[in-house]
């Protein structure tokens, strides 16, 4: 027990008879019982009447958005990663309604903090609208006939999550022991404090007592789950390796024959190696001293539909990395043909290499049919096409491509000779 003040001496900013006053005072008492230093406590407050109390607290204070306070506190708690610091979140039943996902997530991940739900069963700051916590039969100014549904039982929901400490108390009199026990938990804890809003709850439900409402709602004031001990562990690394690893550096050891840039579009199907083959073609160009770019294009689906890539090989620096109109179009599947028809139509010169099984698209380019799929199978058709292209076009030494292939993982699975006989 310490005598350190956690609240400044001034009056608390609540209506007469408001339960929020009791929560603030009991919080101070609980923290005194725990012997906490005020500046080792961070009070995180939500939007709502309860949230304006932070100016009275002598702790650190953190006042954010409606419903997001638990997420804000979660980030803070994870960053502090310090069992000597206490993060306490004040949130109302309105904030707990809009931010229930954050409470569930914080409980699930085990962030070291305590959520104090100020449940006065309605939105007090905005005129007494119902929340998900408004119990059956309870009236509010905008719900004059009373709620037709049971209140949301946050304690049951959160206590179903492993490793949490959850309890409900009635916010009357001295409940500082219950708060202190909750605050002392290492990991995620939540205490729901039942109260009645004097401005809207009491006036809309004349003569109704808090205890009666709580009992009639079937809300138990008890400890729901007491499984202290599962605390969030940060995913921290002492040392991580630079992403600028020299192993990615490419040495130019072959020669090329280009005096102008060549723009190549490869169009095939997902799962048939288009992106990998395009990467390999570009890397081979680099080993021949060319500047290269490779841009991928595909639908959001991962394993189906078209897969296209645009590769530029250039003796000069490349600025614009699009193709506009390709010089070379390689089509290895029907998906690729469907995708690349507009590009083929724009071509008035250049060459299209298309799988022999496909119908030639409308184009002004020269069309060469090659049995990629028949010779090497669908999965290797894109790879076959870059070998075919390189051999045919001689943009750079064929050895450059063979060398890049030999150092790739694919070389262990695929015999390079299947690509050389096309």
């Amino acid at each position: 027990m310490s005598n350190q003040a956690f609240l400044s001496g001034g009056e608390l900013p609540f209506c007469k008879g408001c339960g929020h006053t009791g929560i603030a005072q009991n919080t101070e008492k609980a923290l005194q019982k725990m012997g906490m230093n005020p500046l080792d406590v961070i009070m995180v407050t939500d939007i709502g009447c309860h949230g304006i109390v932070d100016k009275n607290f002598l702790t650190h204070t953190f006042h954010g958005l409606h419903g997001r306070s638990v997420a804000l506190a979660s980030g803070l708690s994870a960053a502090l990663n310090n069992p000597d610091k206490k993060v306490i979140v004040f949130v109302g039943d309105g904030g707990a309604t809009i931010g229930i996902n954050h409470i569930i997530s914080a409980a699930h991940l085990g962030f070291n903090l305590t959520v104090v739900v100020h449940n006065n069963m309605l939105f007090g700051m905005t005129g007494g609208q119902p929340s998900e916590f408004t119990p059956q039969g309870f009236k509010t100014p905008t719900l004059p006939d009373g709620s037709h549904k049971n209140s949301f039982d946050i304690c049951s929901v959160i206590s179903s999550i492993e490793g949490t400490y959850v309890r409900r108390v009635t916010g009357i009199g001295d409940f500082s022991d219950a708060l202190a026990e909750t605050f002392a938990v290492k990991g995620f804890s939540l205490v729901e404090v039942m109260e009645m809003c004097p401005s809207y709850g009491v006036k809309s439900n004349p003569g109704m007592k808090l205890k009666t409402v709580v009992e009639a709602s079937g809300l138990q004031t008890e400890v729901f789950a007491d499984t202290d001990g599962r605390v969030f562990q940060p995913n921290k690394k002492e040392q991580t390796a630079s992403l600028l690893n020299p192993k990615y550096e490419v040495t130019a050891k072959f020669s090329h024959n280009l005096s102008n840039k060549v723009k190549i579009m490869m169009a095939g199907s997902a799962g048939e190696g288009v992106q990998g083959a395009a990467d390999m073609l570009a890397q081979a160009g680099m080993t021949a001293g060319l500047n290269v770019t490779k841009k991928g294009s595909y639908p959001v689906t991962v394993g189906v539909g078209f897969s296209a890539a645009e590769v530029i090989l250039s003796p000069e620096e490349i600025l614009y990395n699009g193709l506009y109109i390709p010089d070379v179009l390689i089509i290895t599947s029907q998906d690729g043909l469907d995708y690349s028809k507009p590009a083929a139509k724009k071509m008035t010169t250049g060459t299209i290499f298309i799988d022999a099984s496909l119908e030639a698209p409308e184009t002004g380019a020269k069309v060469i049919k090659v049995p990629f799929r028949e010779k090497v199978g669908a999965r290797n058709s894109a790879l076959a096409s870059i070998f075919y292209y390189t051999k045919k076009y001689q943009s750079f030494e064929f050895e450059a491509l063979k060398s890049v292939f030999a150092t790739s993982k694919l070389s262990a699975k695929i015999d390079i000779n299947i690509f050389l006989d096309l």
Partner: protein
């Protein structure tokens, strides 16, 4: 034919450069929620950041980042429009709280979910209008790989220096394209650390220093009380209604950006003597614009080029440069020229036109045609 030995060429995407630059600059943690086309940044973050957290949604992402930022850490995230839209309220919160962080926004084709795998430059207005009240988020935008390195590092520094969320605006084809790139000349990036002590006897979290940025102190220390709030507040961080000190504090949020804007005004101005036409662009369209300018000059046409790298607050110098030209052609990959309208208003200016488009990159040919048809 063979490379000079001093160069170190790699086949690399810009996401790698951005991630490395952020970490070297002092970013402590990456908080991510997956979204195309920002996922490479997420993947690299797992390998490189000192700490990585997988958030359950984008609102949580920004809230967690704010929690980290208040505890002395500089957080970074990467997202695209749908995620950014969810973050906006929280970005406003972090801006009002004056918390340092970097949000990398990778543009893709909208509206709405649009086409996740297609690039775009359609979020310029969204960034400009993210904050209620006409306040501006410092927004940097890389025009090539060199910038991706430099400006990513600067974004982290700026977040700490200004105590503010900083947006690094980019787009799919800028950060996902693989390129041959010589990384031997990358400048060193200094690591920045947030302050964790003060000489003040009574610390006021929102008392401005000479540069209008308040001194930062984290919740990790227990010598001084720290009050951080998103509601209108005085210098002590106490909620106020319309007290003059509190309104002054709110106004200061924009004044601090403008006062320090010179320290983060980045642009390339490639001026050609005698040119009457200025091409103005940003992000991935910069490369097409530069290429178009080269070609136009080969054809004997005189053009100057202005590449905007600090998008917001808009540096006055862009308007001063534009003023010198009879014709200004603004190149941006969106429906009807968002940055052009921000620069010149809806009334426009005689001689100002735009080259715009959706669903594909704007090519140098389109720009050349646009200039030649003027």
């Amino acid at each position: 034919m063979i490379d000079n030995n001093t160069t170190k060429k790699v086949f690399v995407d810009a996401s790698r450069l951005i991630t490395e630059a952020c970490v070297q600059a002092g970013a402590d943690v990456f908080i991510g929620y997956p979204i195309t086309p920002a996922n490479l940044l997420y993947s690299y973050a797992v390998a490189r950041y000192p700490e990585m957290m997988a958030a359950p949604d984008e609102i949580t992402t920004l809230q967690w980042m704010s929690g980290f930022a208040a505890a002395g850490k500089i957080p970074v995230t990467a997202t695209s429009f749908p995620g950014y839209a969810l973050m906006i309220e929280s970005i406003g919160m972090a801006h009002m709280m004056e918390l340092p962080m970097v949000i990398i926004l990778v543009q893709r084709l909208g509206p709405a979910t649009g086409t996740a795998t297609c690039g775009a430059q359609g979020d310029i207005n969204v960034i400009h209008g993210s904050l209620s009240g006409g306040y501006q988020l410092p927004t940097l935008c890389a025009s090539n790989y060199d910038d991706c390195w430099t400006l990513a590092g600067k974004a982290v520094h700026l977040a700490a220096e200004l105590r503010s969320p900083v947006v690094l605006l980019t787009s799919k084809e800028m950060i996902m394209t693989l390129r041959s790139y010589d990384w031997s000349q990358l400048p060193n990036i200094e690591k920045i650390k947030l302050n964790n002590e003060t000489k003040a006897s009574v610390y006021k979290p929102y008392a401005p220093q000479a540069n209008l940025v308040p001194e930062y102190l984290p919740y990790t220390q227990n010598k001084h009380q720290v009050r951080i709030t998103a509601s209108t507040h005085n210098q002590a961080g106490i909620l106020q209604n319309l007290a003059p000190e509190a309104l002054e504090n709110s106004a200061r949020l924009q004044e601090k950006m403008l006062k320090n804007l010179d320290t983060f005004t980045y642009y390339d101005y490639d001026k050609q003597e005698g040119a009457e036409t200025l091409l103005l662009s940003m992000d991935v369209s910069s490369q097409a614009t530069r290429e178009a300018a080269e070609e136009l000059r080969k054809q004997g046409k005189k053009v100057s080029v202005l590449i905007a790298k600090t998008l917001f607050p808009i540096p006055q110098v862009y308007l001063e440069i534009a003023e010198k030209y009879k014709k200004v052609v603004v190149v941006e990959e969106n429906f009807d020229g968002q940055y052009r309208k921000l620069l010149f208003g809806y009334a426009g200016r005689k001689g100002v036109s735009g080259i715009n488009g959706i669903g594909k990159m704007i090519s140098p040919n389109e720009i050349m045609e646009g200039v030649n048809n003027e």
